[in-house]
């Protein structure tokens, strides 16, 4: 199944877009998205941080239709 993922900052530069659609095995989970995003470029970390519906999510979290999925580079606020 395809999942569209929002991408930010350095990862968006690496991928060349602020959204990317990846193919994830069923059942769709954060772990599947994480692996699919990592596979997009060797410049990305092997296990990038993922947020679902604006909340940090672990590998076992399921992804439903309409969920907002984002890949989060290391934060550097403050």
């Amino acid at each position: 199944m395809k999942v569209t993922v929002r991408v930010f900052a350095s990862y968006a530069d690496t991928i060349g877009a602020d959204r990317v659609t990846v193919t994830v095995p069923e059942p769709r989970t954060v772990g599947g998205v994480r692996a699919a995003v990592a596979a997009l470029s060797p410049a990305l970390p092997p296990r990038p941080l993922i947020a679902v519906n604006e909340t940090y999510a672990t590998d076992d979290v399921p992804i439903a239709e309409g969920d907002e999925v984002a890949v989060i580079p290391p934060v550097a606020g403050g």
Binding site: F8, S10, A51, A70, P74, V75
Partner: protein
């Protein structure tokens, strides 16, 4: 009233301190983060902050509520600026008021430390030689936890 915000305009320190000042409060602790002109050995001429705005707002509000639980009776305003900033500009301010100073300091410290760890905001430094680079200063707990679970 306590609040957290991501803004694009310049941060007015006095106005934010006034928001938390009140008859019940005996202390206001503030943290003000400013843009430094160096990063390691490189000369920094400016910064650009970007955010995942919806999540950054949500995360800032979560942190605020945690700080308020930690320091009962506190009033806290936390504001982070995004966009292009010059050296010396204020990028973040926390103003935490409480009847007593220890709790004001605690609430202020908790809020800024958690913002630095968790809020999805990123910083691109611009250097004197014209090049730019995303800063990945983060050895942060959230990122490491996310990477291993």
């Amino acid at each position: 009233m306590s609040r957290a915000a991501i803004v694009t305009d310049a941060i007015a320190v006095g106005a934010i301190v006034d928001e938390v000042r009140g008859a019940r409060q005996g202390a206001i602790a503030t943290f003000i983060g400013t843009v430094r002109n160096s990063s390691g050995t490189r000369t920094v001429t400016g910064l650009e902050y970007s955010a995942y705005a919806e999540m950054a707002n949500r995360e800032m509000n979560d942190i605020l509520h945690e700080a308020l639980a930690l320091a009962s009776g506190a009033e806290i305003v936390a504001v982070h600026r995004v966009g292009k900033l010059n050296v010396g500009d204020i990028c973040v301010i926390i103003a935490a008021a409480h009847p007593h100073r220890a709790a004001a300091f605690d609430a202020c410290r908790y809020t800024i430390e958690e913002i630095k760890k968790r809020v999805p905001i990123w910083k691109r430094e611009q250097y004197a030689d014209g090049s730019t680079e995303w800063v990945e200063a983060c050895s942060d707990a959230v990122h490491n936890a996310g990477a291993t679970t």
